[in-house]
Symmetry: C2
Amino acid sequence: MGNSEQLSVQLHAPFWSRYQQLVREVVLPYQYEILNDRVPGVEPSGAIRNFRIAAGLEQGEFTGMVFQDSDVAKWLEAVGYALKTKRDPALERMADDVIDLVVAAQQPDGYLNTYFTIKEPGKRFTNLMDCHELYGAGHMIEAAVSYYEATGKRKLLDAMCRFADLIADTFGPREGQIHGYDGHQEIELALVKLYGATGERRYLDLARYFLDARGTEPNFFLDEWERRGRKSFWWPWLKEPDLAYYQAHKPVREQETAVGHAVRAMYMYTAMADVARLTGDRALQAACERLWQDVTRRQMYVIGAIGSTHQGEAFTFDYDLPNETAYAETCASVGLIFFAKRLIDLGPKAEYGDVMERALYNAVIGSMAQDGKHYCYVNPLEVWPRANEENPDRRHVRPTRQAWFGCACCPPNVARLLMSLQEYIYTWDESRRTLYVHLHMGSTAAWSLDGARVQLRQASALPWRGETSLKVSMPDGPRRFALAVRIPGWCAGKWEVRVNGRELGEEMRVEEGYAVIDRTFADGDELTFAFPLEARWIVGHPQLRAVNGMVAIERGPLVYAVEEADNGPNLAALSVDPGTRLHEVSCEIAGVDAVALECEAWRRDEEAFGDGPLYRPLDAATFSERRVKLRAIPYFLWGNRGQGEMRVWLRSRSSRP
Amino acid sequence: MGNSEQLSVQLHAPFWSRYQQLVREVVLPYQYEILNDRVPGVEPSGAIRNFRIAAGLEQGEFTGMVFQDSDVAKWLEAVGYALKTKRDPALERMADDVIDLVVAAQQPDGYLNTYFTIKEPGKRFTNLMDCHELYGAGHMIEAAVSYYEATGKRKLLDAMCRFADLIADTFGPREGQIHGYDGHQEIELALVKLYGATGERRYLDLARYFLDARGTEPNFFLDEWERRGRKSFWWPWLKEPDLAYYQAHKPVREQETAVGHAVRAMYMYTAMADVARLTGDRALQAACERLWQDVTRRQMYVIGAIGSTHQGEAFTFDYDLPNETAYAETCASVGLIFFAKRLIDLGPKAEYGDVMERALYNAVIGSMAQDGKHYCYVNPLEVWPRANEENPDRRHVRPTRQAWFGCACCPPNVARLLMSLQEYIYTWDESRRTLYVHLHMGSTAAWSLDGARVQLRQASALPWRGETSLKVSMPDGPRRFALAVRIPGWCAGKWEVRVNGRELGEEMRVEEGYAVIDRTFADGDELTFAFPLEARWIVGHPQLRAVNGMVAIERGPLVYAVEEADNGPNLAALSVDPGTRLHEVSCEIAGVDAVALECEAWRRDEEAFGDGPLYRPLDAATFSERRVKLRAIPYFLWGNRGQGEMRVWLRSRSSRP
């Protein structure tokens, strides 16, 4: 693959442009205020102030997490994407000021990290396992590349090249170098981006070094742990590092299942796929594909979220996906989308786009309130506010979106993903003369074919209606090429495509889940796709113990949820018969016009059960039910109507289809 | 009530005598070896050694928990009960030696605690909230009373009176006294026993003082916390004590719901009921009844276990009873039985006996393996061995019984309860001339009525068959009195009773769930009860979110469980139709001849679902099921056939009865 850089893409899907507008007009300014400690009632971030202190512009103590710098970096990266889609002098000035400050905080030798500059000078690179220095470097490199590509300004890019050069001198297999890597992967994928922006092969080599070294014997983290006197930065009671938490338990090419901290895993797999593509490393590619299958076919929640436990923000093991205690961190779903996109770059398969879509339409946009100012760190599959307050095992699941977090990784991660969405829609494969359409999103792609200009204008009514049209502009005359359009997994093979209103014959084939239309296109040609967007009942794999006997609802890419606001409290007392038809009804939630779904359901009757013993023989009184109407709303709109119960999986009263 | 002390009871139920024999012949010797650090492969207890060091007989460091002494005390208490039922010179000599050692470790002023004697001399009574000094005192007082009542030997009793006198001087409302109480309740109920054994009113007054002072303002624990420099003995990161954890958040008479550490709650409620009975304190009695209802009607697992979270080993809130993460500590069920018995002493109601029976036949005996050497601390409602190993949220639930525990409170607690079971069967109410039969257990009760000897010999086929007979011996001639026999809740009103083979007329009435037969009994009269012992499907209250849509199985007092050993792995893939009949079949598990239950069930078919996406539209392929035979065994016998999945609640495929 490759050559996608020749593509120029603009997003204009109403559904998604609204999010980009929200990020541009609300999220980025709001987060800027937070980074500057100017939002009352929100725990001070200190992130900008840390840079001022490190730059010698202010006196004071370091504030926040050891990786606090990365909040600034992710903000800058998102600003870069925002400016790339639309120049905005005020925003650019804001970012230039921040960049001046960041560069002012850089040390003479290129090192940049406010925690170690302010709080532990002299301790740099002594606790890679715990302290996120290269993680921070990676995020600032990503910011530098994004900002450079948007504005052409090299200041941050040059500064980050100097830092990357210092890192390349410090880490590596040669004598005198640290034969190590970071506890939180991120530098690897960032170095690949830096290679892309600069063409400097040494950055790619360094990314590869970090991946190659990871998990080999003797284990770097264990050695470092001994050198450090067996002390954890985070957990004073830790007796021995759990190498799997850092995906450092075995060499990356030998890893079979996704383990440990979910975000680290995703960032690492993303870099692995990048390096596999750029170096033709088949073993690395095979590991990526194996890990992808493990994640998506055995360890992923229906909303496209991952991470089964809050302890270590981690994967547990195959088919262990409890609902009440799910971690399902927003950043992990963002990372899953990164990973999916890199696998597409290695060779498109519709399942990558399916998962990308699942994560995007559910966990990712569900993590942000429609006001752009409230976020989920954990994306619940099930909310019972009282349990989330009073049962400590469920306290990590917040029953409402929060204004900010002490560890504020997620909100800027969502912002940078949403602002760069256009980069996920298409890829151009020069060797196959094929434009791939991975996502159905209103947008325009322009590229050059044998020197001729081609433009594809996509319109899509998703997620509310299943219509996509692709209109070709070829002002320089007809040319033969292929359009490969992902057929979403949710339409179950029932779809139609027409070209200029008539059916397609041999010009069309299906490959890896894509409808490939290979023909000579002329100016004005239009492909129209119709995908039946029917609400349907979903079941999980029989090994998913947590959802056996339950059903979920999907309509197109959207997973649905039921809420107390529509259905009263005690949602577990409801049961549905998945033979029942789901009726579509219009609704408006938090300013979004959406399709809600309604069906008949049954609710257990508490009065008939009475107030005696808690457990009683099943009989007509103890299991009396009454008919009720159930209403489900798109998952991403949950929690916009006050605090209340919510659940994605519903008890099925009849297990037969 | 009262006067039950006039009763002399002997247990001879085959089912229960077997347990007593196991405790006598295996458990007590095994625990003695453990207390003496002589069991290879088991973490050294150090408990006896601590006493040797404190007594100056050995040099060394303190070993174990701050409350390690209590393991010795509970062992001694159980030995007392064992000797009371059957003298055993070897066991008595062993106990006498231990008592000599305990008394040798006592300080000249009566103080006894090896931790503070060895490790923190001078710090006694400075951290009541955390350090269990009065808890330890309470257990040794219980041991002293038990041993004195069994043997008539006063050595430990006198020593503990001296300690109790020191405590009475140290704690109280007067100036110069500590206006405080222990973090772990236990001393209160022990002082009531000491009052019973000695007749010294000051011990009852002290018990009452501890209850009266608890949770009042200014809060003793908060004051102590400040004096101690805001440092927790247990949790260095603790910022503020959670007073509800210690049931010290409000005065005991004002407590409405069960909160905090479940064992502490049970021990406190037990003492509250004792003091209410002995002092006629109506407000205290009302609080007991309120708390009882909250525990048993809103916060109790079906196996008679309590504690919804391992964090704080605690209650959470009403109707929050998750299965996978249940705490359900053995000691808490033992404590629940204590509490039930004390409420019976305040005024019998069948529900107290029902709960006692539920906890005893399920959680309590299920906590000990049939070899007497393996125990549950947490009694699982659901075992999935891999999740219990690899999902940290479920790691507190061990998939098999353990040989011992670092915190070894539970095994000796079970031993002392089982050895004193005979004290829970009957009460004699002199004022009503009524002998209450609370438990259906083969046993003989002897007492004196107007100077005449009366003996009641009970035979019961429980838990396997529903027959109880009660035969009266009255060698001194007929007398009028009443027999009040608890009608178990599980027989749902369908029972019969006959006297000497004929039906009873007006001589019988039902009061508070007891069949009261008030007549002139003559020598040889026999009451025979028949309770239908049918296996039945059980449902939970509709507010129990965790078990909505599920059913459990009970037969008489036994709750049933399904195991991988009989049903293969992935028990969640099974569903049952509660309209299906349960067939009884004989089985033998770990040497116990038991009744297993079988029925038709359905199992989801993994092959039909296939290996593709984890979530798929419900259709004939994704929800293919096949018929299987399901086998359930009594819960108390779970985990005797190798490690595997187990669950109590089964998915119901039809919610209609």
